[in-house]
Amino acid sequence: MALAAMQSVDMQGTMAPKLAVQKLTLSNFRNYVSARLDVDQGPVLLTGENGAGKTNLLEAVSMLAPGRGLRTAKTREMDRAGGDSPWAVSATVMSTMGEVSLGSGREPEGERRLVRINGANARSQAALGEYVNVVWLTPQMDGLFQEGASARRRFLDRLIYGFDSAHAGRLNAYDKTLRERSRLLKEGRADAAWLDALETQMVERGIAIVAARKTMAERLNLVCRKADGPFPGAGVAVTGSLEDWLGRMPALQTEDRFKQALQENRRRDAETGGAAHGPHRSDLEVTHLGKGMQASLCSTGEQKALLISIVLAHAKLQAAELGTAPILLLDEVAAHLDADRRAALFEILLGLNSQSWLTGTEPGVFEGLLDRAQLFRVANATIERIDNNN
């Protein structure tokens, strides 16, 4: 299946409908009292000074997908300061299943995020994933290869959501059992049966998580090992003790090995908190293949280019396998690329069958894309369309 996907990447469908926001409305969201944006399927370019509210618009789009959005904010943090009602974002979206109206917002008396699909309440935000998948690159991710492994795991896990909607549920369940076990160990409760019960669950979910990440890395490699124009070829690997074991022995044996490791390390884990082994210790390792160099040792610009390579590879994979690429939110990405890479990025974005949203302080950074995109000026939480076709 992965190979078939590879072959069709280059001839991906002009037949499949684009995944695109058509209308976006915000109320009491971040610095917006209310705002409305009508856009077509082409790239959406948002320009304006720092603090004008460009990234807030990207965040609003990210709330059309499951999760905590591009700033991983708590629900209440997205309320407008001094606003008198909770935030809400709604949109009309063209999806693979046709036009759908999606809405989300904070529940009036609480922290929960409500989701509405075609005017009816959805049971959970996971339902949004059936229609919309969003992937983003933000300036905060520039240090991804320098930071701790947890940010890199989150990055990889988000790429998996588009292919495997159960992945988020498995991660949550694993995390809960891990915390339960840590609590028991910390309290010094030596209830072997209870610990066993928790560890059995950690093993079941943990191996599934590791397997999903491994599959994702293998599929990404099929596409991103090859340099795409000025974007470097990237080698992607997930590392960790579980990944090692899974590479050397069958899954069932890996489960036993993981179970044994958890049992053996109870005393150690009680002292350090957490657990010595598990998918919460895995890391995403990226290599600049052209230079044969680890991403963390590359220059800042090269690291950014590697990240873009991976995100674009993921979008192409998803387009080939699922018929549509995710909506791409690229915050301040263009400004940090040289002219060659910028032009190449724009060409690739135009070739993907999904909408992309880009921000930049000046329209100048979008040179080459302006006549094929829709340009907006954002200032003081108001959005104004600029006629850029003349």
């Binding site: 159960a166 059992t177 609590r183 049966a193 209870w194």
Partner: protein, 198 residues
């Protein structure tokens, strides 16, 4: 606070009722004072006096042991373990199970400070000894993380007793369409497939 306000305030503490629906319920009762309110008050009064928690299984009834535990027509060789009395009621509505029950009174949760000693687990173990008629324990805890942890825990604790431990099947609901099922349920159903008898 007068009596009417007190009724409203108490009603609003019931699950599923907010202040608005509590006011509506109170008003409805006040309008039917003799036909509804007094019988309800009397029934509540009698219930408070007579409700017993069954020392054997944890069920709620007006006798201890409860009517499920004392029913001579029920099968002594099977015990179905559930989290709450509401789960027992749900299984009883099906009429499909004629064995005995055991109510845990919750699930294990280290984060909420609920351990084995807070649940009716010792009483369950005492019901499956070698001199007892029980042959099968059916674990019917919820398919939540905590429910499953509890099921694993009970499996381990019951292992020594030699009874067979089973759990409810996971998979396609009756009348369900595959198209609408989530991936996790579908893969569980595939894993638990069984041969059709011809």
């Amino acid at each position: 606070m007068n009596e009417i306000e007190q009724v409203i305030q108490l009603l609003s503490r019931l699950p599923g009722l907010g202040p608005r629906s509590a006011r509506r319920a109170a008003l409805h009762m006040i309008q039917k004072r003799e036909g509804l309110m007094r019988p309800l008050a009397d029934a509540l009064d009698r219930a408070v006096e007579n409700i017993r928690i069954c020392a054997t299984c944890g069920n709620i009834d007006t006798h201890d042991p409860c009517s499920v535990c004392t029913d001579p027509k029920r099968d002594d060789t099977q015990i179905c373990v559930v989290e709450q009395v509401g789960d027992l009621w749900a299984l009883e509505r099906t009429g499909a199970f004629r064995g005995r029950f055991h109510i845990l009174g919750g699930v294990l949760s280290a984060l909420d400070g609920i351990g084995p000693e807070d649940l009716n687990i010792e009483s369950l173990l005492s019901r499956v000894g070698p001199d007892q008629p029980v042959k099968e324990v059916i674990l019917a805890t919820n398919l939540t993380v905590d429910g499953q942890t509890t099921a694993h825990y009970l499996t381990e604790r019951l292992a020594a007793s030699g009874v067979s431990v089973t759990r409810l099947a996971h998979g396609v609901p009756v009348g369900g369409e595959l198209d609408y099922l989530d991936d996790g349920t579908l893969s569980a159903a595939l894993k638990a497939r069984h041969a059709l008898e011809s």
